[in-house]
Amino acid sequence: MKVGVPRALLYHHYGECWTSFLETLGVEPVLSAATSNDTVVTGTVYSDNETCLPVKVFTGHLLELKESSDAILVPRVVSQYPGMKACPKYLGLPDMARSFDESLPPVLAPVMDLGDRRGRWAREWHDLARDLGADTDRASAAVKGLVGGLQKAARAKPPAPRTDDERDITIGVAGHLYNVYDTRASLGLLDRITAMGARVTTVEEVPRRFIRRQLNTLPRKIRWDFENRMVGAALHWSRTASVSGVIYVSSFACGPGSMIGALIEDELGEERAVPLMTIILDEHSGEGGLITRIEAFLDMIKWASRARRGAPASKAVQP
């Protein structure tokens, strides 16, 4: 028995937990390959034209698994944190997946509701494990492993920022993991920034307690978990001046993104502490526009810091 796991969307958050769950059951997980141009094109052709980029990428991965697996695991993530809600896209994802192609293998859609402190959702995973042919002991062990893994991941300390890095410019990149860590979807954004001589720090490197402190200053609670962390991280970077610039990465037609994008712009615009650039990704593969924008942003930061130190900036202007 082979169960496919699309390498897209929340795989970037929980993927390891899902695959180890399947392995414990003695089921072979089949991962789709890293996003390529073909993935994006297939996804764009098959999914609705108004969905966001990550869903199109997801569709591409899903259809890639059609031949190679007997079933596809698309967990329905209802909430990622107590008191939080998931984007409607996550909620309807399995149903969307079922409607793409009639010849698709069965879609397994156990609910994952991390907002439920009593963990009632684990029951569905247990049932799924039994359906996949595991005995009770093995199913229980797998579910325990899954829940434990998720808890461990939630409690894990953020990776310590590297201190040996000499570069003096740090860019905070606030964006969804499935955009930022997908080198095709983001057109290699992180690598490009690093190659241009700046350090990159991402949202997961900001500890939860800093994020909570910043979020308490907002008049209205945001109810999406990862968006919460993005806003908190952007505010933290701005208010502690720990970065030289913030890049907010969103995808075209991202619903929560359109809201928090406006929010971040408003807050950071009022504080005037760090410059902000918004990058909206879509399925187009032209890299030129992105490169120019990152270059311009970094150049601006470099000149601004030189001007602050009183050094003549003119040398850098002429090529």
């Binding site: 409607p88 909620l91 309807g92 408003d266």
Partner: protein, 359 residues
């Protein structure tokens, strides 16, 4: 309904002018680029209300995962940046946070200078009156295509609105509801006239407001379509998930949507999937789905609709609406759908006649 509530509570209110091209332009000019169309319109509408002299905006925040949940905050920020000064009361669903809900109720209560029980009573009555308003719509779209005398339905609507405006007490509202039903029963209709049955689903603002959907209900009626709609405004304000006007409760919605959409997805997504599946199972000839550009729940619904359409054999047309929507493009697509529906109807009738002749 909101007007009714304010009059009851003795609050001064300013009515935003009806939606117009100007509303859209005002909203689009200052809204974030990627928010969905209703938010741009609401923003424009809020500006028009403030220009007309309002000093407090009362709004509701959506329940669930839809981005409408955070819209009020963004709206406040944008308007303040534009230099408007006003107070804002945002009602959350009591299901999300009862504390906030109660706090807001107290604000309104202080402004109105009324006791809490009398406030609740006023709100309940306002919602009931809303039901009656929506029932007028519900009856009208069902018979407009069949009326014998042109304009009879419109006259009935006008009469009914008048009856209802004068109703204040609970008994009066109940009486008005009965009178409305009787008034529509009086409208002469031709039950044998050939017609098609069309179900309308979609985001509530787009499917209800004639200004956005190019007055679809009248247009369809002219083409001989009997219409049923899945969503009514006052149903959203009815607690406990009963939808008295549309006549379904939430549990039933979940069951109807079940094989196609197995979870609540925010906004009206599940309601619409349930409605479309319900229409298809009841033998409707076509289903229309209106949604604003980039609406999250409705796009999921749209993708699920492809499956409903092929499995239950019903044509479903999804139309995405934004500030660029033009009348002509929409009508061409609608005409195609209507033709398809008429053909299907004719085939069905033929098959039925054959079966009748065979026995």
């Amino acid at each position: 309904m909101a007007r009714d509530a304010c009059t009851r509570l003795g609050l001064g209110y300013v009515e935003a002018p009806p939606y117009s091209q100007r509303t859209i332009e005002l909203g689009v000019a200052i809204a974030p680029e990627f928010v969905c169309f209703p938010m741009k319109v609401l923003l424009g509408s809020a500006i028009e209300a403030l220009e007309a002299g309002a000093d407090t905006l009362v709004t509701v925040a959506g329940y669930g995962a839809c981005r409408f949940n955070y819209f009020a905050e963004i709206q406040r920020r944008i308007l303040e940046r534009e230099g408007y000064r006003f107070g804002m009361v945002v009602f959350d669903s009591p299901r999300d946070s009862f504390g906030d809900f109660y706090h807001n109720v107290r604000i309104v209560q202080r402004a109105a200078g009324r006791h809490l029980p009398s406030l609740i009573k006023s709100m309940v009555l306002a919602v009931r009156k809303g039901w009656a308003y929506d029932e007028i719509d519900k009856y009208a779209i069902a018979i407009r295509a069949l009326e014998l005398e042109k304009g009879a339905t419109e006259r009935a609507i006008a009469d009914c609105r008048e009856i209802l405006t004068g109703a204040w007490k609970n008994t009066e509202i109940e009486e008005a509801r009965r009178a409305i039903k009787a008034r529509f029963d009086e409208v002469p209709i031709d039950r044998d006239r050939p017609h098609i049955r069309v179900g309308i689903t979609g985001e509530i603002m787009m499917s209800m407001e004639p200004f956005f959907n190019c007055d679809i209900e009248n247009w369809l009626a002219k083409k001989g379509a009997v219409i049923e709609r899945s969503l009514y405004m006052s149903d959203l304000f009815t607690p406990m998930g009963r939808n008295p006007v549309a006549g379904r409760d939430d549990e039933e919605i979940g069951l109807t949507a079940a094989p196609y959409l197995c979870h609540e997805i925010g906004g009206h997504g599940q309601i619409n999937v349930a409605a479309a599946a319900g229409f298809a199972r009841r033998g409707f000839d076509a289903v229309l789905h209106f949604f604003p550009f980039t609406c999250l729940p409705e796009i999921i619904a749209k993708m699920v609709f492809t499956r409903i359409s092929s499995e239950l054999d019903v044509p479903i047309l999804s139309i995405s609406i934004d500030e660029q929507t033009g009348r002509a493009g929409m009508q061409t697509r609608l005409e195609a759908l209507i033709d398809l529906a008429w053909n299907k109807r004719a085939k069905k009738d033929e098959a039925r006649d054959l079966a009748a002749a065979g026995t």
